[in-house]
């Protein structure tokens, strides 16, 4: 059963292959595209911010590869994609990246569901920042459902942390159980 993918992320002491930069980039671009996907109805209400989630993951996993600057850049792109004021997603994402930098040493030691709780809090903060900017810009208020994507994003966290780690895990050697 060696071919079966392991359904849990690597333990901190496990040795992983180095992350390839094109993999990080392609996950970021793919999640940007998911964000640009048109939505409606229930999906619109619960749709997580994939880009924020992916940025958060890589900022926690690879703080030396990407950080506040890259997050800021992707935030700008998201602002253009949404046709909103320049800088609001940029601000929110760079805050997210900074928070990730702050947390990255300890978050990965927690079990996945504790990590997800941290992620929910961070995504909530990110959403709140955008909301504040929008309200100051004169947007109409939003209902509580505005914060549902933070919860749904956190629910996706375990999935993402397994999936994004697959290419880095060495093939199991035959001697290993």
């Amino acid at each position: 059963m060696a071919a079966l993918p392991r359904l849990s992320p690597a333990r901190p002491e496990e040795i992983l292959l180095p992350v390839r930069i094109w993999f990080v980039l392609s996950t970021l671009v793919a999640s940007l595209m998911l964000n640009l996907l048109p939505a409606g109805g229930v999906w619109l209400a619960i749709r997580p911010d994939f880009l924020a989630l992916t940025l958060l993951y890589w900022c926690i996993q690879q703080p030396r590869m990407l950080g506040v600057g890259v997050a800021w850049l992707f935030g700008l792109v998201m602002d253009v994609g949404d046709g909103t004021l320049f800088g609001q997603h940029a601000l929110a994402y760079s805050a997210l990246a900074y928070a990730a930098e702050f947390f990255h040493r300890r978050v990965l030691r927690f079990p996945l569901w504790h990590q997800a709780a941290h992620v929910a809090a961070l995504l909530f903060l990110c959403g709140a920042l955008v909301l504040i900017v929008r309200l100051m810009g004169g947007a109409a208020g939003v209902s509580w459902t505005y914060f549902l994507p933070a919860a749904s994003g956190a629910l996706l966290w375990p999935l993402i942390s397994v999936f994004y780690q697959l290419p880095q895990r060495p093939a199991r050697s035959p001697g290993e159980r």
Binding site: N35, G40, V68, F86, G87, L91, S94, R134, A140
Partner: protein, 304 residues
Amino acid sequence: MPAYAHEPPPFFRRGPSPLARFAFFGLLSLALLVTDSRFAYLEAMRQAVAAVLQPLQSVATWPGLAAERFGGYFSSQRDLQEQNQALQNQLLAQAKAVQGHEDLVRENARLRAVLQVRERYGGGSVAAEALFGGRDPFRQKLVIGYAGEAEVKPGQAVIDETGVVGQVTRSFSGMAEVTLLTDKDHAVPVRVRRSGLRSVLYGAGAGRLPELRFMAANADIQPGDVLVTSGIDGVYPPDLAVATVASVERETGLMFARIVCQPAAGVDRSRHLLVLAPVAALPERPEAETDPESRRKNPRHRRR
């Protein structure tokens, strides 16, 4: 918390600390926010990023479009029959009006030619279908699709069979984004059909009905009045139905009446829409004497 918990030793230097970076990029974002909301300097930058983004965006919509087409293919025969029957009934009911309309159109064309009035509509209009709602919970937008060879430009008015739905604000190939009548602060110049009174209808955001603002408390307007486009701005052609006045509150303490209106079109329900041909350009607006004030007042609206 001791300093060494966060700082790498000096022989592993990684440039400025995260806090410094965050402060830098945070301030940069704030500067961008302020610049973008007050002035229109960043349009070129936005255009550049949008040019890179547009292919991505159209790729992102492919699966949705494919699913849509696939689903439509299998709509049941009974649905189609029912729809067909309903449409035939409607056609019969409207036949008389249509025939009368043709005469009127001909007569009108003749009169216009006689009076040498400029043609108000250039080119044809484009039939479109509502595809998705907007992505942004703050805005009332709609993405529509139309046959690929047609051309839709930002600024064109969008209507359904009963009235104005909104205005095209962005266009991609085969798709366009429509800002709906109900979007917050979306303005439509209107006229009260009964009294000829001119005003501007402002959207109020999701879940709220649009309002007429800044109408004097004694203005000649009453519930049930029909509002049509006045054609004054050159965006909407004149005499399209826009809304019906739902309620008028005149409080003695306030200078303006509070007038809430019900849109005539099924703004968030209609599926089949018509993008009207651009209105022929109006003559240049004469230069006002003190322009800079009005230019600066609301830069967000000029963009759309």
